[in-house]
């Protein structure tokens, strides 16, 4: 896991975001500085209203900051227009949402292919890479299932496969276990731990300490500024996920 001295994936300096609500200006972020290195596993926490959603939107290039700098993978993205942001999202960021956000009428495979469609890949390569990504989350036998034919955990794994398929710089997970029971949550955390072991940079927004405990670094936001930023020994995921995978056995307790 010891990565060579590489440029950090995310460099944020003096990040501010203001919203005009009627006559008032709400300062959701009031100067955030943060550096996240390659292959870090960071949990971003904070009570509601702390600005963590705003922060996540900015990190995810869904929005642009009012002020400050944001360098993602060596490129300044603070001042890009819509279409360039879309390009960055497509190449650099893999989103995992609380509500999975799969397209209901499309199969697992089609859902995972979607980012590659926007990336301009040919049909054959898309199919191949999407299949690989689904196999990587142990859904190689569910390619043609639609979301409503899958369990919650399986859906989230499809979403994770969709996030992984473009080989993004970061996985950006927004409350990834918010809609899952605790057992399934642990299973997903196990999957994240494995991805992290494989070298993936993961940023996870959550308000659950249990979930944040799986990360190796926890950033606390409060009132639009970083309140604390500490490193910790991650708690191993509570299922046999990591172990089973390490042992090469494909055993996966079904949800």
């Amino acid at each position: 896991m010891s990565t060579a001295a590489q440029a950090p994936v995310i460099q944020v300096r003096g990040l501010e975001k203001h919203y005009d609500v009627g006559a008032e200006t709400v300062r959701a972020l009031r100067g955030v500085d943060l550096v996240i290195g390659r292959n870090e596993y960071v949990a971003i926490m904070g009570p509601s209203g702390s600005g963590k959603s705003t922060f996540m939107n900015l990190i995810g290039c869904l929005d642009t900051p009012t002020a400050g700098e944001y360098v993602l993978n060596g490129h300044s993205v603070a001042a890009l227009d819509d279409d360039h942001l879309a390009r960055v999202r497509n190449r650099e960021i893999g989103f995992v949402f609380q509500t999975f956000n799969l397209l209901p009428r499309s199969t697992a495979l089609e859902n995972v292919e979607l980012p590659l469609v926007y990336g301009g890949l040919g049909k054959k390569e898309r199919r191949q890479r999407a299949t690989e990504a689904l196999k990587a989350v142990d859904l190689g036998d569910r390619l043609d299932h639609r979301p409503n034919q899958l369990s919650g955990g399986q859906r989230q794994r499809v979403a994770i496969a969709r996030a992984l398929v473009t080989h993004p710089s970061i996985i950006l997970a927004d409350e990834p276990t918010g809609n899952l029971d605790s057992k399934t949550s642990e299973e997903i955390m196990g999957l994240f731990a494995r991805l992290h072991d494989e070298g993936q940079t993961i940023i996870m927004v959550t308000h659950e300490p249990d979930i944040a405990a799986h990360a190796e670094r926890v950033v606390m936001l409060r009132d639009g500024v970083i309140e604390s930023d500490r490193r910790q020994v991650p708690v191993p995921a509570g299922t046999e996920w990591g172990g089973a995978r390490a042992g090469g056995a494909p055993a996966l307790s079904e949800v």
């Binding site: 995810g60 869904l62 879309a86 956000n101």
Partner: protein
């Protein structure tokens, strides 16, 4: 975003909501149906008028002089009154012209009236069309005889009471019986049957076989029509190139005959089968011009409906749009997706419209004498209009979808 991809998505959407999709594109369907049906029937009519009707009624490559034009058109009363003051054409005029024409061809004259035709067996045909003509009339009209012979120049000259019967008249008077040599009464005068014409068929569903042809100077002269007055003087030339030459020669000779000075309007009409079609051409041109307005109205209504449904679709799928944007869809990708969905929907409506239009045209042909002729251009036009309406109607909803804020879209439920 590949176009094929978007079309597949659009087709899946249509399959998922068949009824809604159908009602969405009803306007397009009706518009295109109407367009295809009318164009198909009009084209059929056009071909029919030019290829069949004109030939049957007036003969090909034939120049005809009349007192007034066959086609009265949209003329006013004053004009019609002026026509009534014109001198009638005489058989003598026809003979005078015939002696002086240089263009090679066949000259004929004829007049007609309506009268009952009966036979000794007591059978009769009411309201038969009685034509008195020169012997050359048969050559002008290309009449073929099923049996017997036409009357000769000599019989015509002397006004011998012989007659050639049309197909319908024979069927009524002599069903299954030999008619040649039998006697019939035309307006009370006895005539001997010497020939029977081949079936001519129908014009606009009306049989044109309910007629008989007898020598002009035979006893009907003066009772079926005015004595020695020729309603038509016809001149048939061997080929189409001679038609204009024949026209000007006929007109020139008639003007001399009527002693008209240069600059004075002719007091007769010179027509060809083509010029008789002028009236039809006027109608069809009017219909062709009016058609886009009629079709346009239903297509505009259709476009408005499609636009509304697409707007509903966009708001229903706001979250999907947010997801797509988060995965890297640019504005253009979303725009194209919804435009193609709209175009596919409406294009499918266009296809249905083409099918229904052809069906309607076939139905019209089946229950009415109007013929139909499918034109490939109209099918391309119908499909093109369908897709075009979809694109036009899709622009605004697609633009709304494309400029959605991904954050807001992702948060929507």
């Amino acid at each position: 975003m590949e176009i094929r991809e978007a079309v597949v998505i659009a087709l899946a959407m249509i399959r998922a909501n068949k009824l809604r999709a159908f009602f969405t594109v009803l306007g397009t369907v009706v518009g295109v149906t109407f367009l295809i049906a009318v164009i198909t029937v009009l084209k059929g009519m056009d071909a029919y008028m030019k290829e069949d009707f004109a030939g049957k009624m007036f003969g090909y490559n034939t120049v005809t002089v009349r007192r007034t034009p066959q086609e009265e058109g949209f003329n006013d009363d004053a004009r019609r009154r002026a026509w009534r003051r014109r001198p009638r054409l005489q058989v003598a005029d026809a003979e005078w012209i015939g002696e002086r024409l240089h263009t090679p061809g066949t000259l004929a004259y004829n007049s007609s009236g309506v009268a009952p035709v009966g036979n000794a067996a007591g059978k009769s045909v009411k309201n038969a069309w009685i034509v008195g003509s020169s012997a050359s009339f048969f050559r002008i009209r290309d009449y073929e005889l099923a049996e017997g012979r036409p009357f000769s120049e000599q019989e015509a000259e002397r006004g011998v009471p012989v007659v050639v019967l049309g197909h319908d008249v024979v069927q009524r008077l002599f069903p299954g019986v030999r008619s040649l040599g039998k006697s019939v009464r035309i307006g009370g005068y006895p005539y001997r049957v010497i020939g029977v014409l081949e079936k001519q068929g129908t014009v606009f569903g009306q049989s044109v076989d309910n007629f008989v042809v007898a020598p002009f100077r035979s006893p009907i002269n003066g009772s079926m029509y005015r004595y020695n007055v020729a309603e038509e003087i016809s001149f048939k030339v061997p080929n189409q190139n001679l038609v204009p030459v024949a026209m000007s020669e006929m007109e020139g000779l008639m003007r001399i005959r009527h002693r008209l000075r240069p600059g004075v309007e002719s007091d007769f009409a010179v027509e060809t089968s083509e010029s008789v079609l002028g009236f039809w051409n006027k109608i069809s041109k009017f219909l062709i011009i009016a058609l886009p307005f009629l079709v346009g109205v239903s297509l505009i209504v259709g476009a408005v409906v499609i636009m509304n449904i697409m707007l509903v679709s966009v708001s229903e799928r706001t979250r999907e749009i947010g997801v797509r944007k988060s995965l890297g869809a640019r504005r253009r990708d979303i725009l194209v997706q919804f435009m193609i969905e709209s175009a596919t929907l409406s294009g499918a409506g266009g296809l249905i419209g083409i099918g229904l239009g052809l069906l309607l045209a076939a139905l019209v042909t089946a229950v009415s004498p109007l013929p139909a002729r499918v034109s490939p251009e109209s099918i391309v036009l119908g499909l093109g209009l369908g897709i075009g309406v979809g694109l036009a109607a899709g622009v605004y909803p697609a633009w709304r979808a494309a400029r959605l804020d991904p954050i807001v879209a992702l948060r929507s439920e």
